[in-house]
Structure formats: C-alpha cells, structure tokens
C-alpha cells in the first residue's frame, strides 16, 4: 500500500511564554497513513494530536522533520487534504449552502456549478431543506454535517479530522459516526482521525496509533483493527473482538492517561 501521508521525524516546539522554556508538543513522530486507510490517533488530552494534524495540513510548519503528501514533500497548505476542525469553523455570515459552496468558489468554480455540487452535498448529509439557514439557526449536529459537506465537496484525497464529534451528544455522535463511515466507504479517502475516545477510534478505524502523554509526545503503539466492514458503530461495540481490542489498547494507554492526569493536576 502506498502512503497518502507520511510524517517523518516530526518535532514541534512553541516559543515559551514569559519566563518558561519552549514547549515541545511532539517529538520524533513517525506516522504513515496509507492510501485509502482510516487511521485513528488516540492519546491523552494535551498530547499534541491536534498539532500533528496542523502539521499534516500545512497550517503549522514543524520545527524539524519532513511531511510527504502522496509521495511529494509538502510546501505551504496541503492542497490534497480536507480538515474537519474540533471547534466551530463555519463562516457565521454564510448560510449552510453558502458555507458548502465556499471552497468551490475559492477554487474558481462557476456559481451555478458550485450551487449544484453544494446542494447535492447538503442532500447527502441529510440537510436538504436547511440550505438557507445560518449557522446560529442550526443545532450542533447540523453544523457538523455542514462542515463535513463543506470539506467533502472539494473531494480531497486526504481527510484530517480533529475530534470532530466531541462536542455532540452521544446519540447524535453515533449517528454522525455511522454517516461518516457510509460516506467514507463510497470512495475510501485516506483519513487521519484524532480522538481521545478509544471506542470511537476502534469502531471507525483500520489502524490505531497510540500517542504518549505530552510534552515531547510520540507514538508508543499501533494496533490493527480487524473488525469486518461495513460496521455499525453502535453494534460493533458489543462484539467480543471489539472488547478484546479495547482491553489491549487501554493497557497501553492507561499509564499515559495517568501521566497526563497528574501533569494537569500539578
């Protein structure tokens, strides 16, 4: 399998706030996302998972190391990647349709064509009839759907997702996860999915990378998820294979979570 995204020896340091030493979020990270592979990156809070995604997106230049996208070194913004953010990223002054059209407009698509594609995507995420609502008129789940449609409308080869569903309630979250899998199975984009929720990671991904607690966070373990697809994220959680995998990964993760916990308390 050829790699869609390859991080080699990535370290990221941020300048110190007054008086402190520089903070190294991630250090010596090796990470590969294969073509068409769904990789989940799990780790305790504050382990620099989002930093890694920002590096892969080209938003944060790494302090050292190399990023390769589809075999070529990354320069500037990663044009092959779509990014689904954890926090609200929709433009509040645009309607649902306007937001989904935004990327197409930025790329110079004609208005008619952009409207057609965007309308189709709104339908695919189940928001037909809500096209002219503004973000503040929609629920959190609807806004996430718009954000998903906005990103997918550009048909990126790589999808970077930063705890995209963490702000949703449990039921909506399971719905969204199932829809994400359904959309993903249609054309199998390469996905890097960051989460601190182990269950979410196992039920979605092909492979799970476990990160150590920060600072100088780095991968400490990898687990292949060999659960059959298509999966129903609610049902798959009840299978013995899932529970077994959950236990094994949790064994690796527990110490790191503990470490992060004590650091936060200190």
């Amino acid at each position: 399998m050829s790699s869609a995204l390859r991080l080699a020896g990535i370290s990221c340091s941020f300048p110190a706030r007054a008086g402190g030493s520089p903070y190294t979020a991630v250090s010596g990270v090796e990470l590969i996302v294969g073509e068409g592979e769904f990789v989940a990156i799990v780790g305790p809070t504050g382990c620099g998972k989002s930093t890694l995604l920002n590096v892969a997106a080209g938003l944060t230049p790494p302090s050292s190391g190399r990023v390769e996208v589809l075999g070529a070194p990354l320069e500037g913004i990663n044009k092959h990647a779509g990014y689904l953010f954890q926090t609200e990223a929709l433009m509040p002054w645009r309607t649902a349709l306007g937001n989904v059209m935004a990327g197409l407009e930025f790329h110079g698509a004609a208005r008619v064509e952009a409207t057609r594609v965007a309308t189709d995507w709104l339908r695919r995420v189940g928001l037909q009839g809500h096209a002219h609502k503004y973000p503040h008129e929609m629920s959190g789940g609807m806004r996430k759907r718009v954000a998903l449609a906005q990103t997918l409308a550009l048909d990126p080869r790589i999808l970077l997702m930063d705890e995209p569903f963490s702000a949703l309630d449990v039921q909506t979250r399971i719905l969204m996860e199932n829809e994400l899998l359904a959309l993903w199975s249609q054309d199998r984009k390469s996905v890097a999915f960051v989460t601190h929720d182990l269950e979410e990671a196992i039920s979605l991904a092909d492979r799970i990378v476990v990160m150590s607690a920060g600072p100088e966070s780095h991968p400490i373990g990898e687990f292949a998820v060999e659960l059959p697809r298509p999966r129903d994220v609610a049902e798959v959680r009840l299978t013995p294979a899932f529970l077994d995998l959950h236990r094994r990964i949790w064994d690796a993760l527990r110490d790191e979570v503990q470490k992060a916990h004590w650091q936060a308390m200190a």
Partner: protein
Amino acid sequence: MTRGRLALLQVTLLAGLFLLWHVLTAREILPSFFFGKPLEVMARIADWFASGKIFPHLGVTLLETLLAFAIGTLLGLAVGLWLALSPVASKLFDPYITAFNSMPRVILAPIFAVWFGLGIWSKVALGVTLVFFIVFFSVYNGVREVSPTILANARMLGASGRQLLRHVYLPSATAWVFSSLHASVGMAFVGAVVGEYLGSARGVGYLILQAEGMFDINTVFAGMLVLTACAVALDSLVTLAERRLLRWRPGNVSGAS
C-alpha cells in the same frame, strides 16, 4: 410590558416634559428669556417648514453629516483592516494613532476652516476626524478577534490572501463597523454643527448661532429639536441596514427571514 404600551409611555413621558416646560416658563418660575417657550419653539419649527426657510440650511447640515459619516466610515474600515493585517504598519503607527485619538479634535476646526474655507468641506473634514476613529478602532480590534479556526478552515478550503480579506475579514469587520455606526452618526452631526457654529454662512448650526446672537432662545431650541429629530432618523436608518446586513448574527433576531 408590550411594545405598544412601552411606546405609549415613552410618548407620554415626552409630552409630560413639554407640559412641565410650558407650565414652568408660562408662570415665569423659570425665566422664559433664558428657557424659551415650548409653544413658540413649536411655532418656529412649524413656520420654518411651512415657509421652507429651513430647507437650505437643513440640507447643508445633512449633506455635511452624511459626507462625514460615509467618508469617515470608509476610511476607518480601510485603515482598520490595513493596520490590523499588517503588523509592521500597526506597530509603526500605533503611538501616532493613540496621540491623534486623545487629542480633542474639535480644536482642528479653525485649521480646517483655513484649509478648506467656510464651505461644507471644512465641516466634513471635522466630522471625518471624529467618525474615523470610532470606526477605525472597532474594525482594528474586531479583525484581530476573527476566530483562528474560521481562518484556518478558509485557508484549508483554498482561500487566497485576497479571498480571505473579501470572504472572512471583511464580513467579520462589517459586524464591528455596525456596532460603531450608532456612535458615529452622532459624531458626524457634532462635526457638522460645531463646524458651522465656528464659521459658516449656512446650516442649522449657523441658524442657531445667529439666533443666539439676538438672544432669540426659542430659535436656538427649535434648531436643537430639528437636529435631534434628524439624528434619530439617521440612527434608525442605521438600525434598518444593520438588520438587513447582519441577519447571520445570533441575537440579531429579525422577522425578515
């Protein structure tokens, strides 16, 4: 309280104040020489509008106000965006902007009169210096508070520098401009009237100055009332535009959907 009742009470309050004014001055508890008489003030206003005498003056004052308002707002928006997006320029100009803003800018009026003459442009210039800073500061601070996630998202969606300005910074700044426009309307009027007051041959400020010279206090009050009414009208136009343009803003609940 319903909106209708509230409006009724507000009108009653106004009528009550006028009644009090009338009673106090009619019985000379307050000397009418200094405080005027509301009925005569009203008669003066009615006469102005009936004879049409007020229109050339009011027209000039409104023209000065609107020009100051428009030019000051556009300049404030442009410079605010520019300085907010250019860290070097912003650091360079920072002390000068602070100094210029703390200066009581009304003292510029005599200089503007020398530079631009006694016509409308010296008044417009004064109004612009007053409006500019209000809009400038709100845009400048507003742009720096644009959500970094929205910016990152727009960049990931392929927005170029120009597109970021057009599709992210500008709409975001518009919200901040509007929050400052209510204050700027009043300031634009201040610029026009103070300018006229200091030297002119036309305008409501000029009328007030003339009347004051003749101790005609009723005309002074009449001028004040006409200006206030115009300022309120202009302010409601701003509110109307705000409702239309900022429909996307939460809390800006309008029926026009």
